[in-house]
């Protein structure tokens, strides 16, 4: 099962209103782009860690792993900023070093904001919030079924890979490509079959094309909103003043 989903559906903030979490982490995300490095970014990172680890009690290992997920990209992305190729020799570009650390600082703060949202808020709640916010019904349905099918297909894909592995399907690279291609084809066929079945099953409960479901929301607390705004203002102030 997906570790981020797992954390999102089981922490102390799971049942807080989505709007509050969106305001807080959306605000921090915007702040991450706007405040200069490094103090503001450190404060954002600290606030996120505090929320995730101390308040929501997301498992530490999982949270750190998610924070480190973009490391490979940061390395590949920052490499060309730092290094220049001069006469076929790599040399460090001082101006690039400056840009690079500023960029990485910003990326870490922004990643923290998004990851903390992802770790504390079930995707299903975000999708329901989308519905309530007026996402047109066909689009909401498409997004919902995509999420639901991801949950079903990831398992099928994994099982198929294992069953190929049982018959040594990954021994040579030629076999591996053939094997992966046929696995994906099987997943596609299964997915289409399942989609038709779901569509039929839905027509048992409503006219085809109807997709409305109950999208209930927890009421937003005015106190929480005030606290969140104060946090955002303080973060921005600290960031700008330092």
């Amino acid at each position: 099962m997906n570790p981020l989903e797992l954390a999102a559906s089981h922490n102390r903030w799971t049942n807080l209103p989505v709007a509050e979490k969106l305001l807080l982490f959306g605000g921090l995300l915007v702040a991450a782009l706007l405040v200069p490095p490094p103090v503001g970014h450190l404060v954002i990172l600290a606030v996120c860690c505090l929320c995730a680890l101390a308040l929501a009690r997301v498992p530490v290992r999982l949270y750190l792993a998610a924070l480190l997920a973009p490391v490979a990209f940061l390395a590949v992305g920052a490499g060309p900023l730092v290094l220049d190729l001069v006469n076929w020799r790599l040399v460090v570009d001082p101006a690039g070093v400056d840009t690079a650390w500023r960029t990485v600082s910003r990326a870490i703060a922004a990643t923290a904001a998004t990851i903390t949202l992802a770790c504390t808020t079930p995707v299903a709640d975000l999708l329901a919030a989308g519905r309530r916010a007026g996402l047109p019904a066909p689009l909401a349905h498409l997004v919902d079924t995509t999420y639901r099918l991801i949950g079903v297909l990831i398992d099928s894909a994994r099982t198929l890979r294992h069953s190929h592995d049982l018959r040594l399907g990954h021994r040579t690279s030629r076999a591996a490509i053939l094997s992966l291609g046929t696995q994906f084809a099987s997943v596609f066929v299964l997915a289409v079959r399942r989609a038709r079945a779901i569509d039929d099953a839905m027509s048992l409960r409503a006219e085809r094309g109807q997709t409305a479901v109950l999208a209930a929301a927890a009421p937003v607390s005015a106190v929480h909103v005030v606290v969140i705004c104060l946090v955002l203002v303080s973060v921005a102030t600290v960031g700008v003043l330092t």
Binding site: N2, L4, L29, A32, L33, L34, L67, A69, P70, A72, F73, L74, V76, G77, P80, D84, L85, D93, T99, T103, R106, A107, A109, A110, T111, A113, T114, L117, V123, P138, L139, L142, T145, T146, Y147, R148, I150, V152, L153, I154, A157, R161, S173, I177, L180, G181, T182, F184, A185, V187, F188, V189, A191, R194, A195, R196, I198, D199, G209, T211
Partner: protein, 207 residues
């Protein structure tokens, strides 16, 4: 590999969001029209979204030892055409950001433009052209899937170069640097993805 959360400066993040938005809105309209016309298409479009996600969530066998994965948009583009893919790719990228901590929300616009707009349009154009000049179906599929993947990364390189032009040598120099880095991982990867898509299509044709 998508541009990580917060990696682009705010001006670029906003600008790419503005560039991608019309394509996504157009795609959303197409989706609504398609679903109103044929309600069954709703779940099928979900299949393409989920399939794209699943493909992109699976690491390919040790191509270069990198964390690279397929973009997965080639097949969907051939089946559903680029406008719809722009919307589906957006959905997939949001799920990748929230479920896999991959890509991000501030870089969503830039990533949608590379993976959901540029890649699919070039791939689709190449596919149609190949079929016109009588390239066999599987050959055209190979070209389309290869380009859908490769163009995504060409555009990513360009986006990074525009955001971080070399002070000394300019944008083009930066672009060549990013391209060089991505080429190591992306060209073999694009070939592998294209081969896999060819296998998928050939299997689908036979059953």
């Amino acid at each position: 590999m998508h541009i990580a959360e917060g990696f682009l400066p705010s001006v670029h993040a906003v600008a790419w969001t503005a560039v991608a938005a019309p394509f996504v809105i157009h795609g959303a309209r197409e989706v609504i029209k398609t679903v109103r016309r044929t309600p069954e298409a709703g779940v099928l479009l979900g299949v393409v979204g989920a399939f794209t996600f699943v493909m992109s969530a699976i690491k390919l066998p040790s191509v270069t030892g990198s964390s690279s994965h397929p973009t997965g948009t080639g097949l969907g583009t051939i089946i559903f055409r680029p406008p719809v893919m722009a919307f589906i790719a957006t959905v997939v990228l949001i799920f990748q950001a929230l479920l896999l901590a991959h890509g991000g929300l501030t870089t969503l616009g830039a990533n949608v433009f590379s993976m959901g707009v540029a890649g699919p349009w070039v791939a689709y154009g190449a596919f149609v052209l190949c079929r016109r000049v009588a390239v066999p179906l599987l050959g055209a599929v190979f070209v389309a899937a290869f380009l859908a993947d490769l163009v995504t990364y060409l555009v990513t390189s360009a986006q990074l170069a525009l955001a971080f032009p070399s002070a000394e040598h300019g944008v083009w120099y930066s672009m060549s640097e990013f391209l060089a880095v991505f080429a190591i991982t992306q060209i073999p990867l694009a070939i592998v993805e294209a081969l896999i898509v060819v296998v998928i299509v050939s299997v689908l044709l036979r059953i």
